[in-house]
Structures are given as C-alpha cells and as structure tokens.
C-alpha cells in the first residue's frame, strides 16, 4: 500500500443535462491505494457500474475529477487511460478464438509471440479454460465466455483492472475456487483492481475494502470486517450480512436503574443502566426514538426473554434459520444446530446489549455499535 492508484474526487454523473437529468452518482470521493482490491457493492441501479464506466472512460464525468496513478484521466480517451476491464456481458470479439481474444491487447502492445503464448497459457490454466482456447465465443457456454473475458482483462499489465460482475455466471464450486486464485494472482502481481458486484460473499472474499453504494451515494467505504461490525448507517447494516440484520423502531424508556427499549405490541427490551458503556447510555438517554438493529446470529433464545412466535424454520444443512413474529414485524435468528420448532411455537428471545446496533431514527446514521459509539 504505497501511493494511491486511483483518486476519485467529487464525481457526479448525470444522465441527461447536468443538474436536471438522472443523478446516477452523487459527489463520489474515494481513494484507492496501489495493490488494493476494492469492491463496489450495491443493488441494481445504485451507481456502481456508472462509476466503473466513468473510470474506464465509457461514460463522461459530469463533474469532478478522476486520477489514475497521479494522472488526471477523466478527460482522456479510454485508450490513453491504461486500464483493463472485464465486462459483465463478456463482450468477446466474435470472429476471434478465445486465445486470440485474450492475446489481443498484448499483440497490440507488440509483445513478442513467445511471451504472449506463455501469458495466455498461464492465465488459461488459472481460469481452467485451457481446453477451449481454440474455440470461438459463440460455441462456448456463458461461464466459459465469462472466464475468457476475465482472462482478457487480467492478462494485461494495466494501472488498474476493472471487473464488472466478473463471476456472475460461474457455478458455485468453480466460483469459490477461482475467487481464491484470482485474489492470489492480483496480490502476487501487485495489481490494483476494482470489482463491481451485488454478491456480498464475493465482495467479502475478494476485496480489501468494500464501497457500499446506494442511490448514487457512497454509504460506507471500509474493510469487510468493519462494515460487518460497524455499519455506518441503517442501509449498510441491513444490506450487508446474510441473513440481513433485524431492525426495529424503539422508544427509549428511562426508569430507575433501567433503560427500556419499547417496541411495538407492548414489548420491551429492558437492560440495566450499567449494561451499557457510559457514552452509549448518554446517547440513548438523550433520545426519544431510535432504530435498533441486531444480527440474526446474535439473537439468543432464553427463558426470561421477550416472547415471539415461530413463523418459519429452515435447516440449511449447516445452520437453522428461524423466523419469528416479533414486535409487529419479523425477527430472524440463526442457530448452528438443527432446531425442531413447530410453526406457531412460542419462543422467548433476548439480545445482548454488546450486540446491539443503534441508529438515529431520522437520518439512519449509526449511533453506537455494542459498547462503542459509532
């Protein structure tokens, strides 16, 4: 991690006239270090692909600047930016074989043939497409095309590698294997990569840092671990994590020695005041309404907990997902053993204050995570 590989500063993207068209990316600022792998994570239409395409030069930057390796590139033609890209739709050249597709850019850069052949062979081995090198794109499967397209991007020695949904079409086993190999490949060569994905497993597994986007706005840009443990706001909290975080609106009640988080349906989570750290307690007592969040695996069943009714029970082979009607909404909890609970069975749940995420009711910004302030 030395100098920054790419700097995005104050970038806006409008489709249509500036300030009146569709505002796809809003005031985006990011800095990515050399040798880092960053995932842009978000749902469809969140602006992640627009961002990638602005970096590549296929979309104009409406406002702001993008530098790659210290060079302002956002006004340059794609050819001058020295970035490589794997496209979501593969976009292989139909009249060329897989080998020619992959070797293409290297040939354009006038590398000697022996070197090109060696590189193609090694990437093909990495991606397990050695057997289809002489085939044409139209005669191979979607997954194979995707790997060929990925190979075409990885083979290049570019300042920046952009990967748009690089593994969406692969079968799960292969995807898991390739994730590891590709990460190793990128790290070994010290390449910088930005990948766009809506698959959080992929983002978690590949990326050093994840940029969560929603509605064109960067919500949080942090390591996978921090995003999981300290989500910056309600959106990141509920978007990242599988199954998603349980959230409830709560009124903060203050009786002698106790803090009660009053939920709908007359339910209440009661804690000793001392169960919270002092700054968190102060924050809670200063507010009337908050939104509380808890990860499904942090919800415990206990005799003296708050009552809930089982509405679904799924054994996934290695863990049980139990959904329960709770406080006018639904609560999901994860247990690692196979749990036999009939539909409609009453259970009692409790939540350790250490696992409680508190968000501001109006803005959705995080207030505290467990014992620490956000």
């Amino acid at each position: 991690m030395s100098a920054s590989a790419i700097t995005i500063s104050g970038v806006d993207k409008f489709y249509g006239p500036i300030d009146r068209g569709v505002h796809a990316v809003k005031n985006l600022t990011m800095e990515i270090a050399k040798g880092e792998i960053v995932a842009l994570l978000g749902s469809s239409g969140c602006g992640k692909t627009s961002t990638l395409r602005m970096i590549a030069g296929f979309e104009e930057v409406s406002r702001g600047a993008i530098s790659v390796g210290g060079r302002k590139v956002h006004t340059l033609a794609p050819v001058k930016r020295n970035v490589a890209m794997a496209f979501e739709g593969y976009s292989l050249y139909p009249p060329l074989t897989v080998r020619e597709n992959m070797a293409f850019a290297l040939k354009a850069a006038r590398l000697p043939k022996s070197e090109v052949d060696a590189k193609v062979a090694s990437i093909a081995k990495l991606l397990e497409i050695e057997d289809i090198l002489e085939r044409y794109p139209s005669s191979i499967s979607g997954g194979q095309q995707q790997r060929a397209s990925l190979g075409r991007a990885l083979i290049r020695n570019a300042d920046l590698h952009l990967l748009d949904e690089p593994m969406g079409q692969l079968e799960p086993q292969l995807r898991a294997v390739l994730r590891g190999r590709i990460k190793h490949f990128i790290k070994e060569r010290g390449l910088t990569a930005i990948l766009v994905t809506h698959d959080q497993t992929e983002a978690n597994a590949l990326a050093d840092r994840i940029a969560v986007m929603e509605g064109g706005v960067l919500q949080q840009f942090d390591t996978p671990d921090m995003i999981k443990r300290r989500p910056a706001n309600l959106f990141t909290g509920t978007f990242v994590g599988e199954p998603p975080m349980n959230v409830f609106e709560a009124y903060v009640g203050n009786t002698v020695g106790k803090i009660s988080l009053k939920l709908p349906d007359g339910l209440s989570l009661d804690y000793d005041k001392d169960a919270f750290s002092a700054p968190v307690r102060d924050q809670l007592l200063n507010r009337e309404r908050v939104v509380i969040g808890v990860r499904p695996y942090a919800v415990r069943r206990s005799k003296d907990g708050v009552p809930a009714t089982v509405s679904a029970n799924q054994w996934l082979g290695d863990q049980t997902h139990i959904a329960a009607d709770f406080a006018g909404g639904s609560l999901v909890l994860v247990e690692h053993d196979r749990t036999r609970l009939e539909l409609g069975a009453p259970i009692n749940v409790s939540i350790d204050p250490k696992n409680l995420h508190v968000f501001d009711q109006a803005s959705g910004n995080a207030i505290s995570h467990g014992m620490e302030l956000a």
């Binding site: 590549a56 030069g57 850019a105 354009a108 290049r156």
Partner: protein, 285 residues
C-alpha cells in the same frame, strides 16, 4: 413437419406451383419475346413454338435498329453503361456517407439526432415529382442538369436513407461493450470502427448496399427529367423503342433481359443477406 399427409403435400405442391407460375410468368414471357420478331410476338393467338432469332440482341449491341421506316440509332449499350456507372457510383457514395452516419446515429445520442435521422428517412416518402420541378430549376441554374455528378447527387435521395436506416439497425444490434473492450485494449475510436463495428455489421451493409443498388438501378423519373440521351440509364433509354413505326416489343424484351440480368444475378447471389437485411433493418428502427 414429418406428419404431413399426402393430401397436404399435394396441395402444398399445387399452391407453390401456382405462386411460382404467377411470379415467373412475366419474366419467362419476356425472355421468350426477346427471341422473336415483332410479327411473331403480335400474332393472335400467341404461339409457344417459334423460330428463335438473335436479331433483337444484335440490334441492341450494334446500336442499329431496323424499322419499317428505316434505320434508327439507339444508344442502348451506352444506356446500360450509364445505368451501371450511375448505380455503382451512387451506392458507393451513399455507403461512404451513410455508414459512418449510421454509426453515429446508432452510437451517439446527440441533440436532434432522431430528428435528423427522420428527416433523412422522409426523403424516401416524399413523392419524387414533388421535388423534381424545383430540383430541375436549381440544377439548370447550377449547371448540374445532365451531368453524372448531378444525377449521382440526386440518386442519394434514393440510396442514402435506405443505407442509413438499415445499417443503423445493424450497428445498434452490436453490443457497445464489444467496442469498448476493443478501445480499452489500446485502440483508437477510428480503429474500433474499422476493425470491430464494420466487420460485425458487414452483412447488413452488404444487404443495404444491394437494396440501394436495385432501387437506383430501377429509378426512372429522376433520370428522365434530369438527364439527356447520353447520360440516360436503361430505364429511360427503353423509351427509344417506342418509335414512329410502332413499338419494338422484341427489342424492348431483349433490353429488359439485358438490363435485369445484373441486378437479378446480384440479388440471387446475395439473397440470404438481402432477406436478413430487410427483416432486421426494416423491422427495427
């Protein structure tokens, strides 16, 4: 399909035969007429058996037309050459102008792009006679009347919109990302157009060019008004066979056979592209 009954197959065969006869009859008849003299042609009832003569073709090729009232000079071979020259050049010019324009319309949405494209298309549904009079006046003023240059220019009204709209459909069918992939691989915009877009749209461009060629070849009214004898294509030149001593059916037929041969050959050769081009380019838009 393998479950069709005998009756169905017979009926289908009859239907197909009828259609083929209906469409082929005029061509076959003209072909036969071209080997007959005016007397045998005009005999009533017409006869299928006759003594073939090459006199019509000889007359066309030598340019000497023997009629009852003497020998007439006709410029058929010259007309045929004019047709070839005008059509080929017009299509070439239209391709040079139209293909890059189609690419621009397909790839870049700029202010008024749809309006410009539509205006170009509207040239095709304006009746030719509507534009002819002003065009003739202007052309005479500018000295363009009765020049190849002027004719080729006017032929762009026929060729350019056709090529533009068909080829545009083809370009739109090519995923833009393929071009982006090429550009990001270190190639300029122009190299991408040449090496990726053009080859991929190749069949469409061929089809559009062919169609434009046929339309240009068959054009009559522009050439009739704007060209005099030495610049006329065959469509207009055929009028010369209506002589003072009667209509020379034999020569007309021979002229038709000679003049449709190039387009027919081209169309048959490129039939596949043509159908593809029509269904793709015409339906989309």
């Amino acid at each position: 399909m393998e479950h069709t009954s005998l009756l169905e197959r017979v009926l289908r065969g009859i239907a197909l035969t009828l259609v083929v006869i209906f469409f082929m009859f005029p061509i076959v008849w003209i072909f036969m007429m071209s080997f007959q003299t005016n007397e045998t042609i005009l005999r009533i009832p017409p006869q299928l058996v006759f003594e073939p003569t090459l006199a019509n073709y000889t007359a066309l090729i030598t340019g000497k037309l023997e009629t009852a009232s003497g020998t007439l000079d006709i410029a058929f071979m010259r007309n045929l050459w004019n047709s070839v020259f005008l059509s080929v050049t017009s299509v070439a010019v239209a391709l040079l102008l139209g293909v890059p324009a189609a690419y621009a319309f397909a790839r870049h949405k700029f202010r008024g792009s749809e309006d410009i494209a539509f205006t170009l298309l509207s040239f095709r549904f304006a009746p030719a006679l509507l534009v002819l009079l002003p065009l003739t006046l202007y052309f005479q003023k500018l000295g363009l009347a009765n020049t190849y240059f002027g004719l080729i220019w006017v032929y762009q009204l026929i060729c350019l919109p056709l090529i533009l709209w068909i080829v545009r459909g083809y370009f739109e069918d090519i995923p833009a990302d393929i071009e982006y992939a090429y550009r990001i691989g270190g190639h300029s915009w122009f190299a991408t157009f040449r090496k990726i877009a053009l080859p991929l749209a190749g069949p469409g461009i061929a089809a559009a060019g062919l169609l434009a060629f046929i339309f240009a070849w068959n054009n009559f009214v522009f050439a009739l008004v704007l060209a005099s004898a030495d610049k006329q294509p065959v469509t207009v030149g055929a009028l010369a066979f209506i002589t003072s001593s009667g209509i020379q059916y034999g020569q007309i037929s021979a002229a038709i056979v000679l003049s449709i041969t190039p387009t027919l050959a081209l169309a048959l050769y490129a039939q596949r592209y043509l159908v593809e081009g029509l269904s793709l380019g015409a339906v989309k838009g």
